[in-house]
Symmetry: C2
Subunit: 352 residues, 2 copies
DNA sequence: CACGGTTTCGTAAACGTTTACAAATTTTTT
DNA sequence: AAAAAATTTGTAAACGTTTACGAAACCGTG
């Protein structure tokens, strides 16, 4: 059906081995025959069969991308970086959507291993590593990495992010600062953000009030409901740090629908800087992650590991800096920019 | 390195052909040996090599998904449907992001054909078909289809959508209704929406005012600027139909930042119903597409074609109904629900 | 117990490449 | 002009499966 290397061989009156060498620019083929082979190939509109090639070379130039939810704007942003980077280096990527389900994660990893991908980029949901699949394939974790992962990862310093967010609110002068997080799917990223929150309290010698720490999931409605019951109960802080922007936007609406104002009655800061947070009507202060860059770094790391063959070399843990973005939901910038908290120690270095 | 069918054969003391038959539940293998083979396979943690399998069967159980921009919330919504549907039927999908670039579209199609995908789902950018690649692979177009495409497609009735949006604004009693569209990347979908706009004017015997028809690209900022210059020029309609929600949201902010109110000073309706349009602070009226369902329909169509082998059978053109969603940016519902415009004739039928 | 019919199994070829090795050809050296 | 060296080419094996075909083993029947 499809035209193969043998068809070319016939037309060009050489053996198919020579055709293979000519097409792959291998050393040791006469320039004249190479020319002839290439011209025949073009004429027949030859497309090499990547599958056959993969079988013998044991390399598919294919990656898996496992993420919890394409529909959550955070992930497409990093996926864009991954796709672009992979494409530039000759790899194609399989899209795998887990719906925040760890069992689906496991299934996908097994599937990808059957498809003989050369590696996977994984934005995992849990905070513990999956012993059944760890090490099955070269992996780079992105945006969240399980505790004591034995693989490389590209994340931001979530503790620092949580610290920056909380510090900002404290610096604004708010007496009480609450925290709304997601517990349903505990991730290291989330744990760390809470940790950063606590650190800020410690630094400022303030006491944490458990009533002002709430947990839900990662949906807008949840944030909406949580804040509304807090307000209804007349037990709410002056400011809130929400663990991600989607939650924060829900909270924002919850506050307004209860007839209170942001930031005058309750100030608010989110995390992630999804594109909609910048919208005029929302103007959510937040902690920004370099999402696309994280994606690029992750593929580059992965492909480097694959191509250098030292997949088993010391895993690299790239930890990027989060950035405080002050919009209108918190307070005007305080200007105090002192680096009270040193950056969290990274196991590896941060490139470029 | 990896455990193969031969390793199993050895352990189970049968030929590897028998192993293959046992693993694939083929007819003609003794229940006892099958049991033995399966148990050895499990014990050795065998994972079939999809690449080798693909080589001989000439089927990769792999699809390509080509879309213009993962970062635009419309596309992840349909991608989610596609991914889920494909996964359920045993297919994996390659993510291909074209950045609204037709040359990248062509390159991706060629690449996918080298990877021997069984078919592709394509949300194309142009309105003309690419003669170089058309027919190279079984294809289903989604969300936009080139004029006289020879392949199946799943789209909504964009003429009707444009009509519904415009009619809604006219019914609200606005004297003048403008149109803001994207011209940079002309698509059939966009052309049709404008067509629907014009149809509504014709039905109502109103005259179209060219000053109120503007074009830009598909970015928020563009909508923002377009409306601001209109307002600055003191030449703007009472209501605006924007060709997509991203544009509409830009317009929304543009209006507010000029000190005017929505809908009191200028009413607004968008198209697509991306998730953020529903946000409390935005409340954009819009025309909704069943995005996830479109994705599912598209994969199902594609896989049916692939598996039935009649890829060359008459292409099916599935045309779904758009739905008017009235929020707060236009006017209260008018209640007039008469079906003035018959649905656009479809070349095929709309399945259950 | 011979025989035809089933059922189970193994051998071999095939899928489209890459690549080690050897053969053939050309070029260089003496 | 022969020998040696270098270049170019072909043959064959390999990658891990599936599957057509035929051989072997088993079954029941007369």
């Amino acid at each position: 059906m499809n035209v193969t290397i043998k068809d070319i061989a016939e037309q060009a009156r050489v053996s198919y081995a020579t055709v293979s060498r000519a097409l792959n620019n291998k050393y040791g083929v006469d320039p004249e025959t190479r020319r002839r082979v290439l011209s025949v190939a073009k004429e027949l509109n030859y497309r090499p069969n990547a599958i056959a090639r993969g079988l013998v070379s044991n390399r598919s130039f294919t990656l898996g991308l496992i993420l919890p939810d394409v529909t959550n704007p955070y992930f497409p942003a990093v996926a864009a970086g991954i796709e672009a980077g992979a494409q530039e280096r000759g790899y194609s990527v399989f899209l795998c959507n887990t719906n925040w389900d760890t069992r689906r994660e496991t299934n996908y990893i097994k599937l990808l291993s059957e498809r003989r991908v050369d590696g996977i980029i994984h934005a995992p949901v849990g905070n513990t590593l999956n012993e059944e699949t760890e090490g099955l394939l070269p992996t780079v974790y992105v945006s969240n990495a399980p505790k004591n992962a034995r693989q490389s990862s590209v994340i931001i310093d979530n503790i620092r992010g949580g610290y920056l967010a909380t510090k900002h609110l404290i610096d604004c002068g708010y007496e009480s600062v609450g925290f709304v997080g997601v517990s349903e799917h505990e991730t290291m990223a989330n744990n760390d953000r809470l940790e950063g929150y606590k650190t800020a309290f410690r630094r400022y010698g303030k006491e944490i009030k458990q009533d002002y720490i709430k947990f839900g999931d990662f949906r807008q409605e949840t944030g909406y409901k949580i804040i509304q019951t807090m307000i209804a109960d007349r037990s709410y802080p002056q400011a809130i740090f929400a663990e991600n922007d989607v939650l924060a936007i829900g909270i924002l609406h919850g506050i307004k629908d209860m007839g209170l104002r942001v930031p005058d009655d309750i100030a608010l800061i989110g995390f992630d800087d999804i594109s909609f947070s910048a919208y005029q009507e929302i103007q959510l202060s937040t902690i920004s992650q370099p999402k696309e860059r994280m994606g690029r770094l992750a593929v580059d790391l992965l492909i480097d590991e694959i191509e250098s063959g030292d997949a088993k070399a010391a895993p690299r843990r790239v930890i990027l800096e989060p950035e405080l973005i002050v919009r209108k939901s918190s307070c005007r910038s305080t200007g105090s920019d002192e680096e009270l908290l040193p950056r969290t120690e990274a196991g590896g270095s941060v490139p470029g």
